[in-house]
Each structure stands twice: as C-alpha cells, then as structure tokens.
Amino acid sequence: MDFSTILEQLTTKDQANNLIEELENLNESIYMTGNKFSNNLKKIDVRYYPALSNLLEKNDQEDVLKKLTEAIKKLPIINVSLSFYPSFQLVEKIGDWLEENIGEKVLILIKNKQELFTKVELEYKGKYARL
C-alpha cells in the first residue's frame, strides 16, 4: 500500500499525533453498527481524506489503518528549538527544505526556548547542534 500521498501532507509531530488519534478512532468504529465509521471518516482532515478514503475502499480497512499508523510512527523526527514560535508557513518551508536536503520525510517538533535568543538548536537521530 502506498501511503506517500498522506505522509507528504505531514509536516509536524503534532499533525502526525492528531492523525494517529483520528485513525485510532476510525479503527475502533469499524465494527460498530450504524454510520459511525463513515461519520468518523468524514472527520478526517481534508488533506488526508481523499487518499485515505481511496485506500479504505480498495483494501481491508483494519489493515490500512494499522499499516498507515505504523508508517507515521516510523517517520524520523527533528527537534528544532527556537526562541520564538515560527509561523506555519515557515514551518512548512523548513519541512520542504529538510525533505529535499535529507532525502526523506521528517516530522518537525518545534520547541520554544526563550534563552536561545538568536540561536537555533537541532536534534536529529541522536545528533545535536546549536548555532
């Protein structure tokens, strides 16, 4: 199963956590009576909905949700500590830059540390840098 369309939409760790939570809710409603599953599916963020809906129609629903959750959890995380909260547009730019320069999809976790002033701290796969 190809989840790249969905994974491409993820930029931050918070987005990934929210999507995992939505997928868990969806998974719990698979065997529920009524329209609970389709109602929960409609609650999925519009960025992921078309691709997810397509996958769920063509494959075993439980299998799709389980594998997608695993794929999201496997994405590497980069911690970016700043003395300010960057705008979402700037975070997306950082995400694009990272994917282009690292060669893989990474999730950004922004941390606010006022004492850094104009410095930037980065942690990625056990490495640490402060500039």
Binding site: V80, L82, S83, F84, P86, S87, L90, K93, I94, W97, L98, N101, I102, Q114, E115, F117, T118, V120, L122, Y124, K127, A129, L131
Partner: protein, 173 residues
Amino acid sequence: MKQKSFLEGLLPHQVNQQNVLSKAHEKAQKIIERASKKANQILIQSNFFHKSLKESLRQELKSAVQKSVQTYQKELEEGIKKSLVDLEEIIKKQLKDNQEFLQNKTKEQWELIEKDLSNYKEQRKQEMDKIIRDKIGELVSDTFIKAMPESMKEKLIFEALESIKKDGFFNNS
C-alpha cells in the same frame, strides 16, 4: 544498902530466882532490841544497796544508750556526708556530661542550620538568577525577537540548517 523486903526475908531463894529471871528477861529484851536494830540497819542498808545498784545500772544503761546513739549519729553523719559527697560527684559528672552533650548537640544543630541556610541561600540565588534570566529572555523576546520580521527569522533558521548540513549533520553515520 538496900533493905530486904518481907518476902525476901521469908523466901530468899525465890526472890533470888525472881531476880535472875528478871535480869535474864531484861537481858533477853536488850538482845532482841539490838538484834531488831541490827536487822533494821541491815534492811536499810540492803534497800540502800538495792537502790544504789538500780541507779548504777540505770546510769550505766543510760550511758551505754547515749554512747550507742552518739556512735550511731556519728556513723550516720559520716554516712550521709559521704553519700552527699558521692551524690555531688555524680551530679557534677552528670551535669558535665549533659553540658557536653548539649554543647555538641547545639553545635551539630547549628552546623545543620548553617548548612540548610547556605543551601537555601544558594537555591534562592539560583531561583532568582533563573527568574532574572527568564525575565531578561522575555524582555529580549518581547522587544527584539517578536519584533523580528518573518524574513529575518527565516534567514536565521535556514542559515543554521545550511551550516549544519555543511558539517555533515544530516549524513547517515
């Protein structure tokens, strides 16, 4: 010279006998009187002796009791005196021990208080330093960082990313 009575003339031997008897009676009377007197004397002496002996025994007993009481008093006084001296020594020693214990305890407590105070001061200093640092940070953030244009923030981040990329930060090790 005494003249003889008529009877004496008639019965001279009877009169003589009568005289002898009278004399004998008189003599016997005297002997009895003397014996009685002597007996009285002996009795008086005996009573006196008895009284004297009783008094002597009383005096001896009194003396012995007095001596015994004196000895007992003396021994008691000495005993009490010795006990008081011993007690005084014990109290002195106990007081000294207590004083030393209190001094050590006070010193120990004082050192603990000083240590706690020192730790507290150091902790408060660190807390105050952190508060000051945070306040300065907030001030700088409010006045400088927040006022920084988005383009400048972007530049700051991408310069850092480019720099660590050059250093091989993203290379798989």
